[in-house]
Amino acid sequence: MASEAGAAINPIGQFSLWPIVPIHIAGYDFSLTNSSLTMLIAVVLACALMAIGAGGGKGIPSRLQALAEMSYEFVAGMVRSATGEAGMRFFPLVFSIFIFVLVCNLVGLIPYSFTVTSHIVVTAALALLVFFTVVIVGVKEHGLRFFKLFVPSGVPIYLLPLVAAIEVLSFLTRPLSHSVRLFANMLAGHITLNVFGGFVVMLLGAGVGLKALAVLPFAMTIGIYALELLVAFLQAYVFAVLTCMYLNDALHPDGH
């Protein structure tokens, strides 16, 4: 569809990567691409907001300080309720993941910018980070008792092999669903925005009578933009909450 007439809608072109500063080391491509530049901008923005926000310490907080403190309390409450007080040692990891995903999602909504989390490689890297953290921490803390995660209590002995196999399988598909959820939400949202924007342009370029109809896809684009703002926050929250729940499995494998 995209390879035919050049005037056809091409919603996939917005996700293409291109190098800004080509860097090749030993035959491997370490170029600074638009994706890595946007990630750097997101990280600098997040660090600046948190550093300036947390640097005040006034009794009556300024707006930025209130924002930094509210986001801290929000993620701390999330970690405590999912993992208990023992899980607070993972708070820096969960907070970093939450803020990174949130800021990357929001930066992607700026017109003409790039959505970092709309690439499966980025979300898979984060999800695999969480997965291997869970496995390594679980085995290090509990040894072989970690595998009690796959043997829920109260299961009759004749069902145990089947249930254990199903539990292992669902554990191994966790990084898949964790990463694809964020990736697919961002991809679908930006494709939708692109397609409706394309409708506006197409109607404006059509005959005289159709130009007035361009208001309709324009209003739809505004509505979908509001929805995408909600989805940006929601998907960052869900990514972080699932991270906390998976970490709880590492810390308390006999919680099942």
């Binding site: 697919a184 939400n185 679908a188 494709i191």
Partner: protein, 79 residues
């Protein structure tokens, strides 16, 4: 019809079929919010405390619908 056109037509049909799966996610999300409202109208004081779980449940249910949309998009644009 040459093989390439046949493959392209099959991809379009497959994308359309995959998009039907999104409707089932709609059923799930509607059920979720309906049950929440049902409980909230019986016990309004407990409703705000469970709002976080509602939003989380909504996101994971919606994700399955988005997985179906992803298959459709992959067929249209990537494969």
């Amino acid at each position: 019809m040459e093989a390439h056109e046949l493959a392209q037509a099959a991809k379009y049909i497959g994308a359309g079929l995959a998009a039907i799966g999104i409707g089932f996610a709609g059923i799930g999300v509607g059920t979720l919010f309906g049950q929440f409202l049902n409980g909230a109208l019986r016990n309004p004081g407990a409703a705000d405390g469970q709002f976080g779980r509602l939003i989380f449940g909504f996101a994971v249910t919606e994700a399955l619908g988005i997985f179906a949309l992803l298959i459709a998009l992959l067929l249209l644009f990537a494969i």
